[in-house]
Amino acid sequence: MQNKPLPRVTIINRPFLEACNEGRLVLQHCLDPDCGKAVFYPRVCCPYCGGGELEWRDVEPLGHIVSFTLVHKPQHEVFEANLPVPFAAVKLNAGPLIYAELVEKPADTQQLLGAPVRIIFRDHAGDQKLPYFELCA
C-alpha cells in the first residue's frame, strides 16, 4: 500500500514543517504594525495587507472546530484502515484556519461545532510529523 501523501517541502513552508517535527506550532506573523496578523497557510507575503515582512513565531496550539465531517469514502486506499476519517476545519486562537484529522472519532458528533481542540503532532509518513486535532477535555 502507498504511503499517506505529504506536503511538498518548499522554501516557503519549510519552517512550518520542521517545527511540526519538533512538536511546535509556528505561524508567520505580519510585521506591519498596522496589521500584525498571523498567517496560514505559509505565504511569501501577508494576504491581509500585502506586506512582505513576515516572521515565524510559536503560537499556542489551541483552537475550535469551525466545521467537520466523517469521511466514509476517502480519496486514497491508504486512509481506509480506520473509517470513517474524522476531518475538521479549525480556527486557531491565533487567528487563521487550519485543516487536519481528529486523532480519534468522537463518541458524540452532535456537539462538535465550536468544540475546543488542541493541536498535537503525530507521525504522518516518512520522517514527517503533521498537525492533528485532539478534543480538549
Binding site: P5, Y41, S67, T69, F79, A89, Y99, A100
Partner: protein, 387 residues
C-alpha cells in the same frame, strides 16, 4: 452608467459530445466532436474559426495552442481555462470582449475531459499547493469532504434539512429523464433513495455527488456581421461577470463571488432576477446551488429551502433549474462541468431542447471552480437571451 455590455456579439452554435462512463476515444477526438457539432449548428465551416478557448483538466502536456495546431485552426485569439468549472463562462465573456473590440471574429469555446473518480482524486492531490499541501495529506475525502464542511455549516446556520438538499438532485433527475445524453437517463431518483443512500462524507451522501464521466461541450461566438449571414437562431449575452477569491480570507461565510457582480450583471441586462426564465447552475453539490441562488439574487440568504418547497424546478415547473439534468444527473465531464450549463442554456434559447424544451426568452448560467484551501475560488455567471 453601465453599458449594455456585450452588444454586437452572438452565440451562434452549440453542441455536446456523447456523455459516457468510459470511452475508447482520445480526449482530442472528443473535443473535436463537440467543436465539429457546434460548427455545424452554427452553419460555419470549422476553418473559418479564428479564435479558440479550451478548458480541460487532463489536456497536459498539450494546451490550447497545440489543439489549434491539431485541428488546423489559424488562431489570432486563444484562451485556456484556468478557473476550473468557472472557466466555460469566463471563456465566453472574454471572447465576447475581444470580438467587440474587433480582435477576432469567430471564437469556439470548448471544454471536455476523460474523467473518472480515480482521475479526479489524483488530479486534486496536485491541483494547487494550498489544497495539495494542507488538505490532501489527510483522508479529507477530496471534493466530497471539502463540501461536506460547507453543507454541515449551511444546515446548522439556516436549519436546512436533508429533505431540503434533496429537492434539486431529485428535480434534476426528473429533467434527465428527458435527456437521452444524460448518464442517469432511464434512472429515476426517489426521496427514499436519496435519504437512504450510503454516506460519502457526512452529511454528503451518494446522490449529493456528481458522477465523473467522459464528455465535451462547445459553444461558438461570432460578431454581428458574421452572425447575421449564418441563418441560425441567435443568442445574445445580456450581461455577465466573474469574481475570484471572494470574500477574501474568508472560507466559511457561505458566500461566493456571485453577489459581488450580480447587481452589475442585471443592470447590464436591464432586467431583474425575477425576469429569468431558468437557471443553469454549477451543481457540483446541492449546497453550492443554494449559495448560487442566493448570490444571483433569486433567493435571499438562507431562503433557498423555503423557495424550493414552493417552486417546481423541473422542465414543466415555474422556474426550471438545470434542465438537462446538470452534472448531478448528466455527469461531470471534468472541466466540461463549467460548459454543460452554457450548452444547455443556448440549446433551450434556440428552441432545440426537444422533449425537455421549456418556454423561455432569457435565463441564467453560472459557473464555479478552482477548489483550493477549503473552497472554490472562482465564480462566474451570465444572462443569455433569445434574439
Amino acid at each position: 452608467m453601465v453599458k449594455r455590455s456585450y452588444d454586437g456579439v452572438f452565440v451562434v452554435g452549440a453542441a455536446q459530445s456523447k456523455y459516457s462512463k468510459t470511452t475508447d476515444k482520445s480526449l482530442h477526438r472528443l473535443l473535436w466532436e463537440a467543436l465539429d457539432g457546434a460548427a455545424k449548428s452554427a452553419n460555419l465551416p470549422l476553418k473559418r474559426i479564428d479564435g479558440l478557448g479550451v478548458s480541460s483538466f487532463s489536456l497536459a502536456p498539450d494546451n490550447v495552442t497545440i489543439i489549434a495546431e491539431h485541428f488546423g485552426i489559424e488562431a489570432r485569439w486563444l484562451f485556456q481555462g484556468l478557473y476550473g468549472g468557472a472557466s466555460g463562462i469566463i471563456n465566453m465573456l472574454h471572447a465576447a470582449r475581444s470580438i467587440q473590440a474587433g480582435d477576432v471574429d469567430i471564437v469556439a469555446c470548448l471544454a471536455g475531459d476523460i474523467y473518472d473518480t480515480a482521475a479526479h482524486n489524483d488530479m486534486l492531490d496536485n491541483f494547487n499547493s494550498p489544497l495539495g499541501d494542507y488538505m490532501a495529506p489527510y483522508g479529507f475525502g477530496a471534493a466530497n469532504g471539502m463540501f461536506a464542511l460547507h453543507t454541515k455549516l449551511y444546515a446548522e446556520k439556516y436549519g436546512a434539512t436533508r429533505e431540503d438538499f434533496a429537492a434539486l438532485p431529485i428535480a434534476q433527475r426528473k429533467n434527465a429523464q428527458k435527456n437521452s445524453n444524460a448518464l442517469f437517463y432511464g434512472k429515476e431518483l426517489t426521496l427514499d433513495e436519496y435519504l437512504n443512500a450510503r454516506l460519502i462524507a457526512d452529511p454528503i451522501a451518494l446522490f449529493d455527488c456528481v458522477h465523473p464521466c467522459v464528455g465535451a461541450d462547445c459553444v461558438i461566438l461570432a460578431s454581428e456581421a458574421v452572425a447575421r449571414e449564418l441563418n441560425v437562431p441567435l443568442v445574445s449575452i445580456e450581461g455577465g461577470g466573474e469574481m475570484h477569491n471572494f470574500p477574501v480570507n474568508d472560507v466559511y461565510s457561505l458566500r461566493g463571488g456571485w453577489e459581488a457582480f450580480s447587481g452589475r450583471m442585471y443592470e447590464q441586462a436591464g432586467c431583474t432576477p425575477q425576469d429569468m426564465d431558468f437557471a443553469q447552475l454549477y451543481d457540483d453539490y446541492p449546497v453550492m446551488e443554494f449559495i448560487q441562488l442566493e448570490g444571483l439574487g433569486i433567493c435571499p440568504p438562507g431562503g433557498v429551502a423555503d423557495f424550493l418547497r414552493v417552486t417546481d424546478t423541473t422542465t414543466t415547473g415555474e422556474f426550471p433549474i438545470n434542465t438537462g439534468g446538470g452534472q448531478l444527473s448528466a455527469g461531470q465531464a471534468g472541466a466540461s462541468g463549467g460548459m454543460i450549463g452554457v450548452f444547455e442554456a443556448v440549446t433551450q434559447l434556440r428552441g432545440e431542447a426537444k422533449d425537455r424544451q421549456i418556454t423561455c426568452n432569457r435565463g441564467l448560467v453560472s459557473g464555479y471552480g478552482m477548489v483550493a484551501f477549503g473552497r472554490g475560488l472562482s465564480s462566474s455567471a451570465a444572462i443569455l437571451a433569445r434574439v
